[in-house]
Symmetry: C2
Subunit: 221 residues, 2 copies
DNA sequence: TTGTCGACTTTTGTATACATAAATATACTT
DNA sequence: AAGTATATTTATGTATACAAAAGTCGACAA
């Protein structure tokens, strides 16, 4: 048993939320889930607390955990913050990226062109790109914050559809950002990254509005 | 029992760290603490996990929890991030603060002038100021991030000394920031807040270097 | 004297048992 | 028939018991 049961429970719940098996607003009973996974409540509780920290579930006092609901406002706030954080990450990366960092980023860019027709692979590479860029910024707290709020976005479901529609654009933007970082142009790197996040936000908002039913009436207010 | 034992344990540990009763690097045994507080290990574990999330303790696998040690580098990274986050908060506040928000901020400014000779009160008002400003930015995730990373700074001990030395300056800077927000000048509000954080960072770094022994040899590297 | 092997002790991870509070359903009264 | 009160059930919060793993101390051998 290399990984603790609590971590597995966390992973299972995380995946269930990302896959849409657990829908926002749905209640998660500790006992129920423990039985489903065949383990006791203790690691489940630990997992739920981590999920609450990541914003994926809300812990109503005495009433257990619910999968969090993201209002349209909350989504906007989340993207506002991503723009700030990842924009700053790009700036820092431009100022201090090592040759190694750049190599990693370029390797990801190449793989993106190679897998241009595989939405799932692109989604994974996209995640890797943003992670690698954060690490190039060389600020552990910044990385941690970006990771947390990216996790929160799992609530909105997979981005594979958006990746398919926007694959080319997105990759071009990635390349431009890495280029600016390589040249040490902090101003341009930040500006490009902010624009990149804004584009992603627009697509996301459009998707959410189109679904329409993905958001409960009360959470639109 | 209005607040859970886990919350009380969290508060107790938090306070112990802030007061310096638990020094960085010191190990925290679950059993020991449970005995000290007269409760079982379960709520202790919950509290330790929250503390780990706040960066106040590190959970070495299989080796329990230690009070986190902040290297000089980590402190710099923390202030870099505060500059980004609170600078953005000031910008957003300038763009969207309500009359109510401004009233709250001004009320705090007045109290600061009234308690100019009480370092403890000033430290509390300073915290309130930054909180109120974050809330004026009207972004729940931004507020959450600022709160988290401010908590991490508890590791460095109280700022009352710095408050005493810098009381006048700091208050003047607060006033200038609120003024810019009141005028809706986002650019100036962000710029002033960033400078404010940079000043606080300088003082803090100076304090840490002066203490010298507050940081373990290995963590300076 | 030093190094290594082994038993012991301590600590975390997990399971389970118990108490308390909330939600629900049922029965009784008006 | 409807509303209220009470009992039952179910959920969480906490405690404790148990198991496995890691560190520690000691003994024995070279």
């Amino acid at each position: 048993m290399t990984e603790s049961l609590a971590e597995r429970a966390y992973g299972a719940l995380c995946a269930a939320i990302a896959e849409g098996e657990l829908t926002p607003g749905q209640r998660i009973g500790e006992t129920t889930f423990a039985a489903q996974l065949g383990i006791s409540r203790t690691p489940i509780r630990e997992a739920l607390q981590r999920l609450a920290r990541d914003g994926l579930v809300t812990l109503d006092a005495r009433n257990g955990a619910k999968v969090a609901e993201l209002s349209l406002e909350a989504i906007q706030e989340l993207y506002d913050l991503r723009e700030i954080l990842e924009g700053s990450a790009a700036r820092f990366a431009a100022l201090g990226a090592t040759a190694n960092d750049l190599q990693r980023l370029n390797a990801i860019l190449i793989k993106e062109t190679e897998h241009g027709d595989d939405p799932a692979a692109l989604a994974k590479l996209n995640k890797l790109f943003h992670q690698a860029l954060c690490e190039a910024a060389n600020n552990r707290y910044l990385s941690s914050a970006v990771a947390t709020f990216s996790t929160t976005l799992l609530l909105l479901g997979p981005t594979t559809l958006a990746a398919k529609l926007r694959a080319g654009e997105s990759q071009a933007e990635h390349r431009a950002i890495v280029e600016a970082i390589g040249e040490g142009d902090a101003e341009r790197a930040e500006s490009l990254m902010r624009a990149h996040i804004r584009r992603a936000r627009e697509i996301r908002i459009a998707m959410v509005l189109e679904e329409g039913l993905g958001i409960s009436p009360t959470s639109i207010a």
